[in-house]
Symmetry: D2
Subunit: 259 residues, 4 copies
């Protein structure tokens, strides 16, 4: 059992300066704590609740920034893709391609991502039972790519609410893929604010501790220097200043869980 890894960053790629600043700050924290870090950010929020939500910088403007973070800071980068045509160009610029939860059953997208040879992180759909992820993983491994991560991010529970079933973590591990717990989107309240999603930031540490105690390969946490003014997922991102103490605790739980 390898020690807990961290996938972190702001929800959206807002600008080159913002990205470099966030990535540098995260790199410092990770170095101090001795935790492996993957920088996460999205070039496009392709499924906003409303068409009026901000979508991000877009593919073309983002690729050089991704490349920059990798080369200048030496950090691996993860971003999410939404369309087959994005797989090849994005794979040039990042280390991990992420399949969004809503798209986890789209066979062609999974195969196109797999065929880039990059690591593929698939989020489990809110509508999917954990045992059904074995079919999803097989779509990727069947395309010749064994480098798959699976991420739990909550299951639909009535309307505008998700619930995190901790039994899903060992169930997902049966796929053979390392299991990531997304503590940010698990506390999302989809559509809960009418034209945007709400969130319950206060439960990020609660669910993250629970998941780490159960035993996971990595934790996914979106963070921002000022979440209340972030362009997306603000209600469920935690403040950058709160990340280090949270990680310290999670790493202690991880050592205990794996001892």
């Amino acid at each position: 059992d390898l020690p807990l890894a961290l996938i972190a960053g702001p929800c959206q790629l807002e600008s080159r300066d913002h990205a470099v600043e966030m990535a540098s700050a995260l790199k410092e924290i990770a170095a101090r704590l001795g935790i492996g870090l993957v920088y996460k950010t999205s070039f496009d929020k392709a499924n906003r609740t409303s068409a009026r939500g901000a979508r991000g910088l877009g593919l073309e403007a983002s690729l050089p920034i991704f490349a920059d973070i990798r080369s200048s800071l030496g950090l691996p980068v993860l971003t999410d893709i939404h369309d087959i045509s994005q797989c090849a160009p994005v794979a040039q610029a990042v280390d991990i391609l992420q399949i969004p939860a809503f798209l986890c059953r789209q066979t062609d997208l999974l195969i196109a991502a797999a065929e880039t040879g990059r690591v593929v992180n698939v989020k489990k759909g809110q509508f999917l039972a954990p045992w059904d992820m074995k079919n999803v993983v097989e779509k990727i491994t069947g395309a010749g790519n064994a480098k798959v991560l699976v991420t739990e991010r909550g299951a639909s529970f009535g309307y505008n609410t998700l619930v995190s079933d901790m039994r899903a973590l060992p169930e997902l591990a049966k796929t053979g893929a390392p299991v990531i717990f997304d503590a940010t989107h698990s506390v999302q309240q989809p559509g809960g604010q009418g034209t945007s999603s709400g969130g319950q930031r206060e439960f990020v540490p609660v669910l993250a501790r629970a998941a780490v105690a159960v035993g996971i390969a990595g934790v996914f946490i979106e963070t921002h220097q000022d979440p209340d003014h972030a362009p997306s997922d603000g209600p469920n991102m935690i403040a950058l200043k709160d990340l280090e103490p949270l990680l310290t605790k999670l790493m202690a739980f991880d050592r205990l869980a794996k001892s």
Copy 2:
């Protein structure tokens, strides 16, 4: 209130002969009953539970068959699309573009479909509250296309199960779009057979009657001459021979609901 319309056909486009045979049979039934008919069939099952599930004829082989059904039988045709690049070519060959439930939040796909000028039928995601469909409809109307249909097809209810909330029908009607009830996928048991989805065909008439009594614009029913040997959605398709008596009953309920 216009009388109940019917969207029907086999889940997959299996071959030209099969399509023409099914469309002809459905046309006869619809003519006898005096119900408006749209022929539904899929050229690609893009999100099968498992990669080993049959996917259908594919886009290129299917377009001439769609065109044929429209011209030789005079039936409007509906099919579902999964990728932005499919919108324009498919719109040439069919009357209604359908957005699958998993994809109902993909902004670019909704806009690309809208921009074809064709009618767009959006299925409500299993993970979406009915009131959140107003944002989905606005993505399409905001792109300049007012010809939108919304379809209810069940909400996630625990694992491998859907539930049909009849309150969703009047709630969806608040979008201003005609509301369709998909009686076939509402009785699906997603992933319920390990590597394919199960279904409860016996509840198709139950849920269809309930929905028509509440008041809807149309009903969506997949049918097949031999559902138990159909390549997809067999467990929840009804036999062609059972369609006419079911429709007769539904039309009587519809007249009463709208009187």
Copy 3:
């Protein structure tokens, strides 16, 4: 298939005068429409959300009023019981003993109710699958009483929300007991107002129409001359003045469903 029956009345027994007034008004409506009527009212609201909610007149004060309604108006009376000790005295004064949904698994209460020889109406727990009601019915029939009714009143769906699964109606019918649909409590929002339950009165006709179209023995509707000022279940009771047109429509759906 017998025609649709009606179980109706105000949630609480507020006073003798109020009870006689409501029962008389309901008797007139039922006579005009030719629908069988059972008068429903509760002598005690034993499971209010908060201890501060009004509970009703109580057992001793209520029994003579029940007897009065039966003898002077000739109406059968239904009331709910919460404790074994209530079964025998209440059975003297009413025609149907009702087991509340939360208590549907309490074996001794079911048996004590059964042993009175009265008809027993069991509400399905919000936590119970419809197929599990066969065990509940067998607890009653096993105690020698074959006169059982089963009532659907919604299933838990996330927090503070219920959903009505119309598939439950034919599933409950497999118990052999006549199936009642409770259109009032199905639209309850349990605990939804902090210290009391909310409700969605506007969906009573929606769900009642759906259930009658599926096919049921009876419908349960709580009503009040002024629901917004009723001491309990106000948000989900319909106004007495709206009952007759609703019933007229439901009876037409019932004739069609059973034709």
Copy 4:
């Protein structure tokens, strides 16, 4: 923050000998580990899925056994009550009265339990949102008894399934009452075996670890020397021999959570 306490024992009181044997074994384990122990057992399983399920020794036969375990072994005893009339006699013989989840809204039972002056442990209903437990706790404290425990044991999630929402633990703590996590009934599959409930014993350690990491006052674990042949809750009880290593791990998580 006090260290984690343990409520443990077999589901049913099977016989005096069995009870003494189990209680002695648990006392030894607790002494070795230095964990506070409350012995739990039920004199009556009042809400079995089917009337044919074994119900236990009954009240009269059980009270002297409870008294015996308290006096000879010096262990505090917890048992559950189902009816107002049981509160006073049972309170003579045990230290903690437990309110079953289905009965957590029965005002008179809560008050009768409160008035005994004993500690009252209320299980949260499977149908209840965690924030609604504040009203339940107030029914007890409003009757003059401040010694209340609240227990999480899963929420309804579709049919025949429960899910444990770890956010419920801090939410329940807002009531001011110590929070217990019932790791046994949280993995129950209600009614899941037709005429009895199923269970997923393998997830007891998973959910217990998660809950302890979040931070709780105590953990509730049913155990049996031979769970597969126990008269009730066998599928979700863990074997006695597996208890000590599990507790050792949970106590380490507890120290970390409270450090």
